[in-house]
Subunit: 139 residues, 4 copies
Amino acid sequence: MRDFIFPVRVYYEDTDVVGVVYHANYLKFMERARTEWLRALGYEQDILIHEQGMLLAVSSIAVEYKKAARFNDLLQVAVMGIKLGRVTLTFEQRITRPGDREEQEIITTGHVKVASLDAITFRPKPIPQQLRQDLESAS
Amino acid sequence: MRDFIFPVRVYYEDTDVVGVVYHANYLKFMERARTEWLRALGYEQDILIHEQGMLLAVSSIAVEYKKAARFNDLLQVAVMGIKLGRVTLTFEQRITRPGDREEQEIITTGHVKVASLDAITFRPKPIPQQLRQDLESAS
Amino acid sequence: MRDFIFPVRVYYEDTDVVGVVYHANYLKFMERARTEWLRALGYEQDILIHEQGMLLAVSSIAVEYKKAARFNDLLQVAVMGIKLGRVTLTFEQRITRPGDREEQEIITTGHVKVASLDAITFRPKPIPQQLRQDLESAS
Amino acid sequence: MRDFIFPVRVYYEDTDVVGVVYHANYLKFMERARTEWLRALGYEQDILIHEQGMLLAVSSIAVEYKKAARFNDLLQVAVMGIKLGRVTLTFEQRITRPGDREEQEIITTGHVKVASLDAITFRPKPIPQQLRQDLESAS
């Protein structure tokens, strides 16, 4: 798949006293990008919950913090690859900052596993067929 | 009523790049103290939702930021007074930091109006009789 | 001044168990819009801090919560008016959601006072002349 | 080492529309416990920054989400083991919820690597000798 890129601006709310983005907040940025990637495929998560009775929940995450993003940075949050299981999606993600000479500085990389759950019982629920097909064509 | 005091420690998550507590986060501290004040009266909000079908939602807030709290401060968050309406509770709150010579520095004051809502329809719902009595004895 | 409008999408991170945007998070949305309004005028706050030694800090806030915003809503956060003091700026802000028939539902209104502070001492610092002129032409 | 346990209450601010703790917020809980563990050893992080010129920054994190914590839960956040490198500390952490029959339900496990950085340059800085000794006796 081609990388999907979603821009995220760093506001005061995202930083901490050390002057950089608080480490947990990169997880929010990554989720915003996954949400926008799904939206670009035509899927709204509130509709998935209400019409298909399914929700997506993070089941594991591994993040490497390589450089610090700072207040006012305009980051690029990428969804770079996705692997489909029966009830899981695994995303490769990367957050970069445009550097001085066109190259990108890598801020953070993430490997995020998301499970498809029944929206009522929270038990694993196979990814619906149509969504699976659309995810496969996109990946 | 006697002031109800709930201690809140300032962690990295609460601060911003300026080195102080991010302004929206004091609202979280104030809500923690209201929650603990209700708990001290014997009311758990999850049980209020499930058994009485009511939830408490903030309907207006006015906050004065007087001094900045900093990373690692141990603050005292007070519920100092409460006024009861038919469907609303109005709290006076204050956040202080112990000073060098026993006096308290005032960090933030808040005037917070909370509405009793039906947990399903989100429409105003009179405060249940027993809760009202307990709030009146406490205030 | 003409209203300045900044769009904000509601993500999971912004919601709470009641199913709506957590009340403190609207303050983040309002600050994002103030930041973007300043940026549109040509002012980057990190540069204000480093080159002019000034920072903007919220000194009081009054917010009315009228309707609840929900997961996945695309809100419009407005900066609608600004009053200039010697060391303060007071913003009128409004958060709306596009309704079914073109009208906007008002979610939240805010009256936010921001102080110009010396970036080192945190003491009040008159708004620099050029910034003042640009704010006046914009308001 | 004996497990170090720090209690964390789940407030509205921690939950999301799905009704459970938002996944990024467990990282905050884990950091609160690491901070309190250091404090119990006699180390305040603001003093480490100002007197020793060192700060601790998360350099990688791996988290498994096993069960969902809910609004109003009183969780126990553990620091269970620590490995010392020259400039890094690696923590094993676990978040549990007291179950019905005295057993603990495991909510989340985390493997968190923290680097010692120079507080000005953000470059790796060996852990100071006295802190190293105290960490070694504690682990």
